[in-house]
Symmetry: C2
Subunit: 767 residues, 2 copies
């Protein structure tokens, strides 16, 4: 890359640990310029694609728009809006409708304010072209209309339906922060046409098999187990065979035919083979293939947009060092920007990033190096400060005495971990035994004491701030669990003797905490840690799917509640005979009532959600759907079939596709180039943590960092400040996704963008 | 590519349509040389990895060993051996044990002969180093031992177990022809270590959740739906929660807790989320990842071995055209070899292949071009002979008359297809209606006549040999179905009035054929054809999985029959009260008997297989396993859990992984280089079928080739002989697999092998 070579006249800031440099060395740039540039960088870092206005006022508004407080407030009010379903008819906790409607009005007001804020930030024409803004406006207006109609109907004592409740979860999708969710929906939409054709073929096969079943089995006078005629109605056969694809009624649906002759079993086995194994695999293949293809394209565009924004930021900050030379950004400006974008970044970390960017120590960087900044900021670098132990400072003689050092060696020994793993195993056996035995009940105190001792010993040996660093997941986990268990056990012990009071809740908490303590064993086994860390890493992305599921569930729950509320009743008193038919005569004798499914109903939003989970798991969904069909109409099954197609065939397959892809990336992709250069720099500066922790294939060494720290402190011949790249952990889901397809991205992409955007620069530097 | 330039002295054979050239032009090579070379080429083509002896005698034996008759015989006797289970106790058709044992002895004899034959073909040390030979010997010896013991026990009226029956399916794996199956087993074995760790973690999670369930729910005095205490026994909880992972007892297992409080539902939802969705996806990811990785390595080695063999064949055939020049193979030798390897190849096809290899028309080819031969032979080239219609020859005046040509145009018109699709749809409706109505019963004749008319018209328009060519799947399908339906309907119609006789079987066949006729609609819709063709293409590979499943099923069936035979009885008379408890008092009141699962038993091999299919589908497997546990011992569940782990977690996941991978290949991979060069040649020679049929993305135009032939004949200005590459169809599964990973294979691989094998040539050319 053709960087300018002469830059000795620039003061080397990295020597001065640059604290609080007022607006950098260049007085030519105003605060507005820095604001603008920092917004570009921040947008690039978090992959925000907002074409905001570049006037100083809009920039200031935009900074406020991106502040975490309004964002958190917005999500809080969306949550409030969604949870209104708990208090509205049919309610878990009934509230008068004026109260819920007042709260909803407040929510709508908040959404409107947020939208108006957004409208002021971006140019008017962009605002009206964006479908998500239109969506929010439509949702707000429709909700208002619905509230007015409902209020009027209520006032005249008519029956009203709050139909706009279905729209609420769409807010989650359409707010600017719902980027991940929108992408997930887009990938579903993109896969739909392909899925549709496979689905048609699958339906064709289903209809053909049903026709054959009707002709082969309908006339034989066979009976199902409850004496009904078997396979005589075509539509019933289609439904039964559709259910068979979900395996929910296997092998029951086959038994009458199989009892008649085992040739018929061949029919069913063929059906299962084709429709269940082949077609379901094809669904997964099609979904996965589409998912991969479209995601790749999206990520490519994302990277383009990111680079474009960085080039814009560069255009704002650039200065000419020499006549005709390439424009550069000075270190002072760069520092200012990084501090604005990431106020909590440590000076050491910032200097490290600078030394990676300014590889030749010129005091300024060109466009190519500057564009990297967004990616560099996304690489999580853990700054490890090698402080002496506070006890060492307080009482060095004692802390460095022979017994104290022996203890340190003991705690750091591998055997210490093994001993505690054994203790945990013994503990597991004791938990499994009957706790009414006083010996076993008292053993709990011993175990608690042992666990406390472990934490105290570790705190004695390791520096407390390092022990409780942000990335020491297992240390936090341990301490919180043990201390909670201690508190809960003490409360329980003090309450139990005093007046025979036993709180079930506290006892439950004690039990849960005791069992959770056992999980720690996983961390001792490297192979397990590998898998767990991979799962934790794809966690944020799974959360996106969680949101998606909640959006879909919420819509189905709202519709389901309108269709089926109070049709199936559950009586808290289990001995109530009405529970035998769920308070609805039409359920008498059905499998639904026999299996005691009365609590699986749509009578409030919580029951609905649990019911929808059961439907997602699929088993017995034919019993559930037939139950609801019995109390309403046969066509009610359509609701359940649509739910099955949408959630099980489409969304769950996309989920599996995502997990597959994420796992392959975790298993195969090398660290990105940028990371490697960062790592090289860290090593070059001899600031790296012992290499073996980085080498740990797939294992994120962060969780076990305490061990290293110990050895390092003992050795005490390393610098006081060290860096480590949390190579496998990404700040944003986007970064993970970008990494997923990095290998496929055109390396020439940047150059291309560079050209495209060069001519666009003047308009943005006019501020 | 440093080919010798001078080769004008070689007679250009391609002009003479070279029929029956006696042993080529070079008298220097003996018949043995040709045999040896053709074996190398054939082994390379079919990816046989047999290090046979190169002595002329061994080569002759090896030729016989590879002949199709002994191979078919071998598989026939394996089939006989496997199907002996039908006749042995517990039998479907009981035969005296001396009869089955006699047949088994015969089978063993055949296997021994085959093995001895093999031993004579390959060097002795290679023979004894090959585990599959050892395996066969062990199986044969153990079976003999078992038969002797069993015979002795039988003679003394003791109870004997034919335990060696478990070994029978292993023959299928260990015969030399079981290459695909061995590979499938290898990919399972390779994935096992990785699966094992995930499985351990999964079991750990299961145990922790069970412990928590015991502590939270065990003391609450809850009851299951049949009044049993709920979640009080740790092992029972573990089993119940394991079943929940398979979703078979959802939501029943949760209902008692959920009825008590809906907080407990959270516990179960969390459990399902972690163990069902996350862990099962991880299993698939791990299996898929390992499958891909190891398969790639295997295919790489396969390609290496193939090239090595081609180089050996080249070494046998090579001759020096000029002093110091590169060795070459003359066209005569090449022709001889191709004719030996593939006797049914047409001369035109062979010449096409030669012109691809000898691109510069030199009359001889070098090593690089020769090595391609194995791949060239694997590319399926369809030779289309453009013959005039026989009627055209018989009576040209009539056939070329205006009405006749109008008919031709009509039949070839798109509307003709649409009209017949509509007829099929109307037919579908008529089939669905009640066939006792005489109007509808008679309509069947109309439809039959219409379908016959269609076939006759097509035969009139298209050349019959082209119409019934090997690749016209749908033409064959149509004709066979329609003619069978006609015959069956006539038989049915003649039998029915004469003496009120109605044969259910014939009627069933008529119904099946009628419904099957409807499938043809799929072919008219391009999108459907695409999917179907992809499925057909991965069909052979799916068959390998079918074999694998049969091996596993057979072993489980044999063990299951020994463990559970006659514990559960089914009485053909459905009204027999013993059916209410399956003839076993211990089943009284169990879900197994209540659901009427008596016919799901291990009383003979057919029932066992059907039961195992039901267990593979998973639903209700807890009822089935609990039923068998009730009649034997609780530990019987272990059998079912092991089956579930092996078949559902491992094999089905590998199956899904295979389908996924195959689909991606079909969707994405370009034609291989070699094919493209063959295609280029075909086009160059202006022998290609109209390009649009080749362009049909993903659609294999073969099935619709009739249309093209029609238009071509009408135009009549094309050469009489045309070629088309069946680009997407591969002769062997290996070829498909090689294509799957072709893009990842090192293109330098050949050169490397070339060097490796050059020094090995002399030893092989000693013959």
């Amino acid at each position: 890359m053709s960087e300018p070579e002469k830059s000795e006249d620039i003061p080397d800031e990295s020597a001065g640990k640059g604290k609080g440099i007022p607006n950098g060395g260049n007085s030519a740039k105003s605060k507005e310029d820095y604001d603008l540039a920092s917004i570009y960088v921040s947008d690039a870092q978090y992959n925000r694609n907002i074409y905001f206005d570049t006037s100083p006022q809009a920039v200031r508004l935009y900074l406020r728009y991106n502040h975490w407080i309004p964002q958190v407030l917005l999500f809080f009010f969306i949550l409030v809006d969604l949870s209104l379903a708990l208090f509205e008819e049919p309610a878990v906790v009934p509230l008068p409708s004026w109260a819920t409607m007042l709260v909803e009005l407040l929510c709508l007001l908040v959404f409107t304010i947020r939208l108006v804020h957004y409208a002021k930030v971006i140019p008017r024409d962009k605002f009206w072209k964006d479908p998500k803004n239109i969506c929010i406006i439509v949702i707000v207006v429709l909700t208002l209309v619905d509230m007015i109609i409902y209020g009027a109907l209520k006032a005249t004592n008519c029956y009203g339906v709050r139909w706009s409740r279905v729209l609420r979860p769409l807010l989650l999708v359409n707010v600017t922060e719902g980027r991940q969710l929108r992408r997930a929906f887009r990938s579903i939409r993109n896969a739909l046409p392909q899925i549709f054709y496979v689905f048609l073929l699958f339906m064709f096969s289903l209809l053909i098999f049903s026709l054959m079943a009707l002709k082969l089995l309908g006339k034989r006078g066979l009976k199902t187990i409850d004496g009904a005629p078997y396979f005589t109605n075509y539509l019933e056969i289609v439904f039964d065979l559709y259910v068979l694809v979900t395996t929910a009624n296997s092998p029951d649906v086959m038994m009458p035919a199989y009892n008649a002759s085992f040739y018929f079993a061949i029919f069913f086995i063929l059906y299962i083979l084709i429709n269940n194994y082949i077609f379901m695999s094809v669904f997964l293949a099609v979904v996965y293939n589409n998912y991969k293809k479209h995601l790749k394209e999206e990520i490519r565009q994302l990277v383009r947009a990111k680079r474009h924004k960085m080039v814009q930021a560069f255009a704002v900050l650039q200065e000419q060092r020499e006549e005709g030379g390439e424009p550069v950004v000075s270190q002072a400006d760069w520092n200012q920007i990084v501090r604005l974008v990431q106020p909590d970044i440590s000076n050491a970390h910032r200097e490290l990033l600078w030394s990676v960017s300014d590889n030749n120590n010129q005091g300024c960087i060109g466009k190519v190096a500057f564009v990297q900044l967004a990616d560099l900021l996304n690489i999580e670098v853990i700054t490890l400060k090698s402080r002496p132990h506070p006890l060492h400072g307080l009482c060095p003689a004692l802390y460095l005495s022979a017994p104290s050092r022996l203890l340190c060696r003991l705690v750091q020994h591998r055997a210490f971990v093994i001993v505690y793993d054994l203790i945990i195993l013994v503990n597991a056996v004791f938990i499994g035994l009957d706790e009414t035995n006083p010996l076993i009940a008292n053993s709990e105190w011993v175990f608690l004491a042992l666990y406390l001792l472990e934490i105290l010993m570790k705190l004695y040996v390791f520096e407390p701030r390092a022990f409780f660093s942000r990335h020491s997941f297992w240390n936090w986990f341990d301490t919180i669990i043990v201390i909670s268990a201690l508190i809960a056990t003490i409360i329980n012990a003090t309450l139990t003797p005093s007046g025979n009071y036993t709180s079930r809740q506290i006892l439950d908490i004690v039990f849960i905490l005791r069992v959770l303590r056992l999980i720690r064993v996983v961390d001792s086994i490297k192979r397990f840690r590998t898998i767990i860390n991979t799962l934790i890493r794809i966690g944020p992305a799974i959360l996106t799917f969680g949101q998606l599921i909640i959006v879909v569930y919420y819509i189905f729950a709202m519709v389901g509640m309108e269709l089926f509320k109070d049709k199936v009743k559950f009586y808290e008193d289990l001995s109530d005979p009405a529970n035998l038919y769920c308070g609805n005569d039409q359920l008498k004798g059905t499998a639904f009532a026999q299996l005691n499914y009365c609590k699986n109903n749509f009578n409030n939003v919580v029951s609905s959600f649990i019911l929808l989970v059961e439907l997602t798991v699929v088993n017995q969904w034919h019993v559930l759907s037939s139950g609801f069909a019995a109390v309403t109409h046969k066509s009610a099954r359509i609701f359940f079939v649509i739910f099955h197609i949408m959630v099980v065939i489409v969304i769950i397959n996309i989920f599996v596709a995502f997990v597959l892809e994420a796992f392959f990336v975790e298993y195969s992709v090398e660290k990105s180039d940028l990371q490697t250069s960062l790592e090289r720099k860290i090593e070059e500066l001899e600031l790296a943590v012992a290499q073996e922790t980085l080498e740990d294939n797939l294992v994120n060494a962060m969780e076990t960092i305490d061990n290293d720290q110990g050895t390092r402190q003992a050795a005490n011949n390393k610098p006081a400040l060290m860096f480590k790249i949390a190579s496998k952990r990404y700040r944003t889901v986007d970064a993970l996704l970008q990494r997923m397809f990095e290998s496929d991205l055109d390396p020439e992409d940047f150059a291309e963008n560079d050209d495209q955007t060069n001519f666009a620069n003047p308009t943005f530097s006019s501020a």
